[in-house]
Point group: C2
Chain length 103, copies 2
């Protein structure tokens, strides 16, 4: 079993909040943003006027779910979207037809 997070219920919990989904949108559009960048972008582009700590807590949830990965450089912490945990979470219920029974 892998050590990576995001294999359990945390992914669903993380996706449940609309602000967190907006954060994923932002990171999908531009990787490697800092906390303050994400804050100002959410504020200006999406009229989400939350405090820095609120966004920080959201990022922590996303990171616990494995949807966001971080790297530190000096006093900056850059956030990157990781779509890995998203790829197969719905396969649990979607029954794929075998494309063609070859005769």
């Amino acid at each position: 079993m892998p050590i990576v997070a995001g294999m359990g219920d945390e992914v669903f919990k993380a996706l449940a909040d609309p602000t967190r989904r907006k954060i994923l949108d932002e990171l999908a559009e531009r990787q490697g943003q800092t906390l303050f960048e994400i804050c100002s972008r959410l504020s200006t582009k999406h009229q989400i006027g939350l405090s820095r700590q609120a966004i920080s807590q959201h990022l922590a949830v996303l990171e616990a779910a494995g949807l966001v990965e971080t790297r530190r450089e000096g006093r900056y912490k850059f956030h990157d979207l990781n779509t890995g945990p998203l790829e197969r979470i719905t396969d649990r219920w979607i029954r794929r037809e075998p494309p063609e029974s070859h005769r």
Copy 2:
């Protein structure tokens, strides 16, 4: 724009609860179950000892999200899984590489 539900945030909300995901599991395994069938199956197979009303409320959430559809026959109400809303909810963040730049 279609009249069907499940195009908004309700799908994520519905998927956030582990009991609701188990219900989807059950319906994926066997379509057309009644409320009481779902209750007893959750209880015996998954040790989920919730009241009938609790399950009923969960089903209402799933139906509002478009993940479950119902049909009435006499005093029975049958529940069917609809995977439609699941198919594209993650495409929002997953960037598909164009398969091959031809030459």
